[in-house]
Amino acid sequence: MMRMLRGAFVIARRDFSATVLSKAFIFFLLGPIFPLLLGGVFGGIGARVASQTEQPVVAVVSSAEDYRRISAARERIADTLPDSMVVQLAHYSPQANSAAQQKKLLASRKPPIRAVLTGGLANPHLMGPVNSDSQAVGQLRLILADAKTAQGEPPELPVTATGASTGSMVKDRALTGQIGQMLLFFLTLLLSGMVMSQLIEEKSNKIIEVIAAAVPIDSLFIGKLFAMLAASVAGIIVWISAGALLIQLINTGGLRNLPNPAVGWPAFLALGVVYFAMNYLLLGSIFLMIGAQASTVREVQTLSMPATFAQVIVFGFAATAVGQPNSTEALIAAVFPLSSPLVMLARAAQQPELWPHAAALAWQALWVVFILRLGAKLFRKTVLKSGPRAKWWKVSRA
């Protein structure tokens, strides 16, 4: 046992140094920046395009006084919503030939007129290619109603700030749980793929032969898994530190604006790291077993596809439990070892009790030991095979 652990340590130390000191690790650390940058760039482009596009306008053919009251009512609604979401208005004085004026306005391109409102406040009538139950028409109804009855400024509404209400917390915490679950899933999948690629590299350049002659092959399996786990924990620490720094710099936004998890941020983050480790060890073992069967990158891609799809299904299963932590589906997903870490992290965001986490971690640890042992056994039997490949159902006899 000591020999095995010592060998695992030597391999883990080498893999960890090679991973953390490589250029690829810098890209790994910068990984989360790319989606943010892309989001920012495309969001900015979208906003610019939206702002530059001329919004369709409703032409208001009325007296100046009526338009003043209609416009004031619109501004009051625009105070509660983004301006771009509130129907745009333009004023036109009535002309002698009302029908001709309406026809001319509907054909206008500058500004693009969507509909024409005539009859002032007394007898309003809308004409144009709009449905009577559309959002724009609904807003116009509100604006006209407000314009008819408005007594000037809206009444004062004193506000007493309290903590989140139960109703809002359930929804908000589910969001925290969902975000945590997604991070856990994608990080685990990414790392499992990385550890598998490393194994293939070693298989192809035959270093594995030197290692297998010196230490039990279980050492290689466990050493590789834990090296990648340590590297990823280093990455997570960097990300969390960078995130905390960012939050300090930008006092609003980030975690400050995210709904507080039920167990509190410190416990949630600690549980996140532990559940990540469990999830990674379970999934990483499976991917390493797959890597042991393959001898080329192409084979790895083919073999890992079903496992990846299966994990996506497991993720989907776990995601259904978010928002209903005590439902039957959630309990089943919490018991199923491959979805348990994902479900329990989401639970930590929504339920304050800590004892289910202790039970779940013990249960998951049991499965980690079982799958590690099974994985190491299969790995040992298949990773150093040469000659014709044995049928998979004969592996146990190999």
Binding site: K206, P216, P388
Partner: protein, 320 residues
């Protein structure tokens, strides 16, 4: 009758002992009942053509793979990995991490065999300097030439001062100068009492280095013994050139003597050289030249493993 390596007592004087090792890969039998006895402190050659089962045999001896049946005992251990810290292994297909420094690659191999990283680095620097690679100690493996990288891996094989060194086709890919250096290194380790097993399909290397050999063909051991014993299986070859083409002397040479150009070639008859010489002189052969050649390992290999195996080796030996 089958014998089995005793699970409790190692045979004195043997570093490695294997009995009836069999390895099946699916329906294919790669090794079929190989038995070997490697004397402690010897240089032991495993000869055979590609695909004969040499590498699979070595992998079983080292515990990289388990035999389908049969037993082996390495340095007194039934489980070879228990003796891993006393064994050095250079596989046929070389493997090093390209981004590692030369000294770190050697130290890593030492760490796998029980050395601390610091001690491994210290020894690596000494070894690299001794072998003319001191300036390359802190250079990455990918910046080394192929020969240098092979030397680095070989130094990694001996860094922990093993009692048994296993080299699988160690000369493959080396130029003549590096082959000479490697031969010298093998001899030096052997002089220090280390047992060395190496596989090769180049008979000349085995002939120059080995005291003991095993000839493997088609997964089976065709011969296991000393080089002298292998050569002793063949009678010396006589090459005779005479001035007289016909005469009574012809009855002195065997019926199956063959004529190669202007000389007769045949195995030395049972009685030895003296009766032959006397008969030739009495028969009026008019001896121009007469040479008695001791058979080389190549000839012994052909005789033992067959022409087909020798052709598969595709090599030359001293007998040629």
């Amino acid at each position: 009758m089958l014998r089995q390596v005793s699970s409790s007592v190692a045979t004195p004087g043997l570093a490695v002992e294997a009995v009836d090792l069999v390895k099946d890969f699916g329906e294919t039998r790669a090794v079929d009942g190989v038995s070997l006895s490697v004397p402690t402190g010897s240089i032991y050659g495993l000869l055979g053509p590609n695909g004969a089962g040499k590498t699979t045999t070595l992998r079983m001896l080292l515990g990289i793979i388990d035999p389908s049946s049969g037993t082996r005992r390495v340095l007194g251990h039934d489980r070879p990995l228990e003796a891993a810290q006393e064994i050095g292994y250079l596989p046929e297909e070389r493997g090093l991490y390209p981004s590692m420094y030369a000294r770190d690659a050697i130290a890593f191999m030492g760490a796998l065999r029980g050395l601390t990283l610091a001690e491994g680095r210290r020894r690596a620097d000494v070894l690299l300097t001794e072998h003319g690679l001191g300036d390359w100690s802190r250079r990455s493996i990918r910046s080394l030439s192929k020969g240098m990288a092979q030397l680095v891996q070989l130094l990694g094989t001996i860094i922990h001062k093993p009692r048994l060194i296993v080299l699988d086709e160690p000369f493959a890919g080396l130029d003549a100068i590096n082959q000479g250096r490697l031969e010298e290194l093998i001899r030096r380790e052997a002089r220090a009492g280390v047992t060395i097993i190496f596989s090769t399909h180049v008979i000349a290397h085995a002939e120059r280095l080995c005291e003991h050999i095993a000839i493997i063909a088609s997964g089976q051991v065709a011969f296991d013994g000393s080089v002298a014993e292998a050569r002793g299986r063949l009678r010396p070859i006589v090459r005779l050139r005479t001035r007289v083409s016909e005469g009574p002397w012809r009855s002195a040479i065997p019926q199956d003597a063959r004529c190669e150009g202007d000389e007769w070639v045949f195995e030395l008859p049972e009685g030895g050289p003296e009766p032959l010489l006397r008969a030739l002189l009495d028969g009026g052969a008019g001896i121009e030249t007469l040479a008695i050649e001791r058979p080389g390992l190549h000839d012994a290999f052909v005789a033992i493993a067959g022409n087909k195996a020798a052709a598969a080796m595709g090599t030359t030996g001293t007998g040629q």
